[in-house]
Assembly symmetry: C2
């Protein structure tokens, strides 16, 4: 779909990347950006992710598409601010990391009949802000979609077409199912990394520990570079799923601990199973994608792993 | 030091990389390889990590330097096999992932007066075998050294010179201190990754989970690609340290769980501290390295992160 006017509310990494991807596919579209942080807004314009900066009211005027890409913690207040001035026919999408609360706010706060489709692109970097934005960030990524129950078919179709035009694969999920799954694949991995570096970094031997730490440590602590505010918001809007997931994970660590203490050969079998699960995931087999030798797997995993952030992970698959 | 004859016993990734690095710095040296797996030995010769293959006895004949780079689990038996035929004046070094047991075996099994210096290069890849070998694998890496208490000064000096000639920085550690530290920076991260993918991979929802998993998941599961046998040996020779480290780590996860459940702002502070600890580590500040803006930090961390395996991690530092 062609758009004359698009509003991007929140011009950090994701908002600015949407802007760049929109410009790449629709050079005629006029994109107005708004961000509570003037610096982020100016830098988004600097990298040409938006055509011009505006107030919230300016940005929304005649907008046919509204992208809400603030941290989740700011969304409810933003929905309240825009509800008076939102053009009736605009498609409104968010890109927040959790969906149940966001959908609840959208239902409670946005005007009746709003064309709202919640979303979450499964793409990102630990780098934050518009300077890290990339028009190709969504290429090959899964983009979760969770429409409001009242959303009309044409709004959903439009969201699908939009996401596909940015290079992503739409993936419909119930908001609470979404939140359970991202607790597993994103929120728990972040907490694992935070836990590792904090429990070591707060010991007296940290200097020696840090001196020996090498590649394996780099992998498992990398996510600690993520935006603390973003993850703080995530924990507050996905608390129950995260706590449950942490408990399940600690149960698994306890089983591994028992296998280690008992020195049984089951431990080696556990390690072999982990490698095999991981290789199935990397190749796309775990997701039920193409498996035939020499056949290209579907884009999902492959592209996520060979994108700008994860170039090295794809090497095995590239052979 | 120049060597006429070197024996490499165990021609996997590390042994073959030592061979390539030795050839690069000492083209005249004759390197004889031995490996219980004939295939690994042939491939090591194929990539020119060794000049020729031999029996254990062939390899050791007139050897001035003996590198033992089998998995730790095979070392005791190998020490027994070689003790009768080891040239008296040879420097013997191992590259095993744990050190206390290896040093105990060396003291118990190798001939009195052996010039043995235990070692562990803090470098590696998840890829295994001689085909993944790299002459530059040790460039900028820390190489832990743990001499037998009976080792003479000249043996230790020779080990230092050797390690430096391969591009690494020698780092002397008591074997039990070494094992405690690697439990933190290497063995725990591996178990964290195994625990993550196993607890998700054994759930009925794995297919959906796998479909949403993206970059963060890739980072935190990457280590599951490591050699299961190597880590099985590690767990058996470093059991107490690993179990203790797992317990400390689970305590940290429990504290994070409490902060999440209570929704306090301390959680955000914990996330901020984790990021700051990580950035200090990446920049070398945690290790006490150079900190002035624009000054090159010492090679240790930087080089490990910008090497062939970890190219992406170094981007922040490269700016």
């Amino acid at each position: 779909m062609a758009y004359n006017r698009v509003a991007i509310l929140g011009t950090g990494l994701i908002g600015a990347s949407v802007g760049l991807a929109l410009k790449a596919s629709r050079p005629q579209t006029q994109i107005i950006g708004y961000d509570a942080a003037g610096d982020s807004l100016r830098r988004a314009q600097g990298v040409k992710a938006i055509d011009r900066r505006g107030s919230l009211r300016d940005a929304l005027e005649n907008a046919e598409l509204v992208i809400v890409s603030t941290p989740v913690g700011a969304m409810k207040a933003l929905f309240e601010e825009i509800s008076e001035v939102l053009p009736t026919q605009a498609l409104v999408m968010d890109t927040g990391s959790t969906k149940a609360e966001v959908l609840r706010w959208a239902a409670d706060v946005l005007p009746q009949g709003v064309r709202f489709v919640g979303g979450h692109p499964m793409a990102g970097k630990t780098e934050t802000g518009p300077d890290a934005a990339d028009a190709r960030l969504f290429q090959g990524a899964v983009w979760c979609l969770a429409p409001l129950p009242t959303a009309q078919r044409d709004a959903i179709d439009e969201a699908v077409a939009l996401v596909e035009s940015l290079g992503a694969s739409p993936y419909f999920l119930d908001p609470s199912e979404h939140d359970g799954l991202v607790a597993s694949v994103s929120h728990l991995p972040y907490l694992m990394s935070v836990g590792l570096i904090r429990h070591l970094g707060n010991e007296r031997s940290w200097r020696e520990t840090a001196s020996l730490a090498a590649g394996g440590f780099a992998y498992t602590t990398h996510l600690t570079d993520s935006d603390p505010q973003m993850f703080f918001d995530i924990m507050r809007t996905n608390r129950d799923n995260v706590v449950r997931r942490l408990d399940l994970y600690m149960n698994e660590l306890l089983s591994l601990r028992e296998l280690i203490a008992s020195e049984g050969v089951e431990l080696k079998a556990a390690f072999e199973q982990a490698r095999s699960l991981h290789q199935d995931w990397l190749s796309g087999r775990a997701q039920g994608q193409a498996t035939a030798e020499g056949e290209n797997p579907l884009p999902t995993t492959r592209s996520m792993l060979t994108g700008s952030l994860f170039g090295n992970f794809g090497r095995r698959g590239e052979k």
